[in-house]
């Protein structure tokens, strides 16, 4: 596809995504969370650390919109204040994944079969390590910090980016127009990087949305387990964990941070779905094209609903 056509198509896709109502709702939710991530602590109506021992375990009221916790602190403020940490470390993990995954993915077409084999095996090996276990294990080595803990999460996200960019690059390097262009003198590397980046961009967008959701969950999980939490600093998972300790006094309490986590994860997934549906089937059909032999067997649907043949 010529560059001009690609541009038009890409712009069209972005526009059409917004037409989906679910995407608009998701974006609204995410925008709110982004604002909180940037300005959470300052926007909180009350101090997240302010104790108020006279009003413990209160339900929602005008003064405390989401009630108070076991130390009388305002739950709403705590959750708002805890947003930056969760969001930023999640993004950190995704960033690491991108950096570690995309470059090798593109490079593995050029660096020969040996590199390709090794890179694939490393990617497979990383996928066998359960993320949370690995993250906790790393804190044993690097110390009990959330930033440290998200590094292994990021590393474990890299195979996803690796696979996608590798598939796209492979497909392109074999495309006939690339051969033709090569014959006319263009360098293969230059061609592939220009076209691959353009073509794989929608896939990367979708992947990033889904993986950010996963990373966010991982952050909540880790803070729930007590990794990287320095009480009394609030985190989503930390609030959830302490709610669990006082379940008998306030059985409704865990639903609040739970709902927050679910809402952000759901919004990201919905966005990923919207991109997948409207972002152009051509681009997202890449994984199918990466398989050379024809299969007559069943197709695999990934968690976001698009279909591909099982590898």
């Amino acid at each position: 596809m010529s560059a001009a056509v690609n541009d038009v198509v890409a712009r069209g896709r972005a526009g059409s995504v917004l037409r989906l109502r679910s995407a608009r709702i998701a974006l609204a939710v995410l925008a709110a969370i982004a604002v909180l991530a940037a300005f959470g602590p300052t926007l909180a109506p009350q101090g997240p650390l302010t104790l108020n021992t006279s009003s413990l375990f209160q339900g929602p009221s005008w003064h405390h919109l989401l009630g108070t916790d076991y130390l009388g602190r305002d739950v709403l403020s705590r959750l708002m204040a805890g947003t930056p940490l969760s969001v930023l470390t999640a993004l950190e993990a995704v960033g690491i994944g991108m950096v570690l995954g995309i470059a090798p993915g593109i490079a593995s077409t050029f660096l020969g079969r040996g590199f390709d084999f090794v890179a694939n095996r490393v990617a497979d090996a990383l996928m066998t390590l359960p993320s949370i276990f690995f993250a906790v294990a790393v804190t044993a080595a690097l110390g009990n910090g959330l930033v440290q803990a998200m590094v292994p999460i990021g590393v474990l996200l890299a195979p996803a980016y690796f696979r996608i960019t590798r598939a796209a690059t492979l497909e392109y390097s074999r495309a006939q127009y690339v051969e033709a262009a090569e014959l006319m003198g263009a360098s293969k590397f230059h061609l592939v990087t220009t076209h691959v980046v353009r073509k794989v961009f929608p896939n990367i967008v979708v992947t990033t949305a889904s993986l950010t959701a996963g990373a966010l969950l991982a952050v909540s999980f880790l803070t729930f387990l007590g990794i990287g939490v320095q009480p009394p600093e609030p985190t989503w998972g930390g609030v959830l964990s302490s709610d669990l300790d006082y379940l008998s006094q306030a059985p409704w309490a865990p639903f609040i941070p739970g709902a927050l986590i679910a809402a952000s994860v759901g919004a990201l997934n919905a966005l990923a779905d919207a991109f997948r549906d409207r972002g152009g089937r051509g681009a997202l059909a890449l994984p199918q094209l990466a398989q050379i032999t024809v299969r007559t067997g069943p197709t695999l649907e990934d968690a976001n609903g698009s279909q591909r043949s099982v590898a």
Partner: protein, 346 residues
């Protein structure tokens, strides 16, 4: 939401075969497939175990000093301890020694309690096995039936309900589900115990009681994935001509559904199971926290906090071996069920 859910599954497979092929030929095919599967796995095992081992090297901790304590940590004592622990060799040699010993069942001992790692692990392993096992069984039962029913009554209220529930469940992390279950069934309605663990050797009914809630919490995510995958594959398969072909031969409908349709539709669902397994393991850590179970996850948390490296390394090795074994089983199952035209994987 799974962490790496968009990654292409590396399993070989799909497409046809497996029927009344002469036993020798089938046997050879299966062995060949297992062989090639192993050939890919071996480097994976080495790489992941090496990553695991080098975590210890990453840490700045000085195990010799920690073990000897403040007073005993004289330079000579430390040097001697290092030699005893084998820490004076280059990393790769250390790694190899460790791996060799591990294969023989010796995973070293805790820096602090001197309890052999393998003992600690084998004490807690049954807990996780029980829960994970139950979770897998439940996931297959619940996810499988939901997926089949949704596909067979496509477009009906059940189908739409299942789709909705699946989307909702994907957003809920296992530990949130676990908490909800505890709130509902242990605190409010009080059917099942909220925490603790009783082994099957002590009392089977109590054992079952204690693993139901955590097992259920773990299974929900996987059930949803299986149900969704199975429904999609099955709907696609039911539209195929060969279902009509099987029907027109006069085969009973149940047989057509299970022997023909499901057989071809199940592949991706089985793959999903293998795929979600590491996620389920991660979830078991949550389950242990929520339900106060003395499992491997708790052991990991404790030893990570105290920086008890050998325990951490041993645990990670055991866990990733587990995952690899499960993947091997899943791939073999797929190979037994399907083969490609020329009998090779692609």
């Amino acid at each position: 939401m799974s962490v790496a859910d968009l990654v292409l599954v590396a399993s070989p497979a799909t497409t046809a075969a497996a029927g009344d092929v002469p036993p020798r030929r089938r046997g050879r095919q299966i062995v060949a497939r297992i062989g090639s599967g192993l050939a890919v796995l071996v480097p994976i095992v080495f790489i992941s175990s090496f990553i695991t081992y080098s975590l210890g090297a990453l840490s700045n901790s000085d195990p010799a000093a920690t073990i000897l304590g403040q007073d005993g940590a004289t330079p000579q004592a430390v040097a001697r301890m290092n030699r005893a622990l084998g820490l004076n060799h280059p990393l790769v040699v250390q790694y190899w020694n460790w791996l060799v010993k591990a294969v023989h069942g010796n995973l070293g001992a805790s820096y602090f309690t001197q309890v052999p790692v393998s003992t600690s692990i084998s004490q807690r392993l049954p807990v996780d096995l029980s829960i994970a096992g139950l979770a897998v069984v439940l996931a297959i039962l619940i996810g499988g039936s939901a997926g089949i029913l949704a596909a067979v009554r496509r477009g009906g209220w059940f189908d739409r309900g299942v789709t909705l529930v699946c989307s909702a469940v994907s957003t809920l992390p296992a530990f949130v589900v676990g908490i909800i279950l505890v709130v509902l069934f242990a605190t409010t309605i009080k059917i099942f115990p909220a925490n603790g663990y009783v082994g099957p050797t002590t009392s089977v009914p109590q054992w079952l009681e204690h693993i139901v809630l955590p097992g259920l919490a773990l299974s929900l995510q996987v059930s949803a994935d299986i149900a969704r995958q199975l429904r999609t594959s099955l709907v696609g398969v039911l539209e195929q001509n060969y279902v009509v072909g099987a029907t027109v031969r006069g085969l009973p409908r149940r047989r057509v559904l299970f022997r023909h349709a499901l057989r071809n539709a199940a592949g991706p669902a089985i793959t999903v199971l293998g795929y979600d397994f590491p996620l389920m393991l991660a979830g078991s850590v949550a389950a242990e926290a929520v339900f106060s179970l003395p499992g491997l996850g708790q052991l990991l948390l404790e030893s990570a906090q105290t920086r008890d490296i050998p325990v951490v390394q041993g645990l990670l090795l055991v866990i990733s071996s587990f995952v690899i074994v499960v993947n091997l089983v899943v791939n073999t199952t797929l190979n037994v069920l399907y083969r490609t035209n020329d009998g090779t994987s692609a």
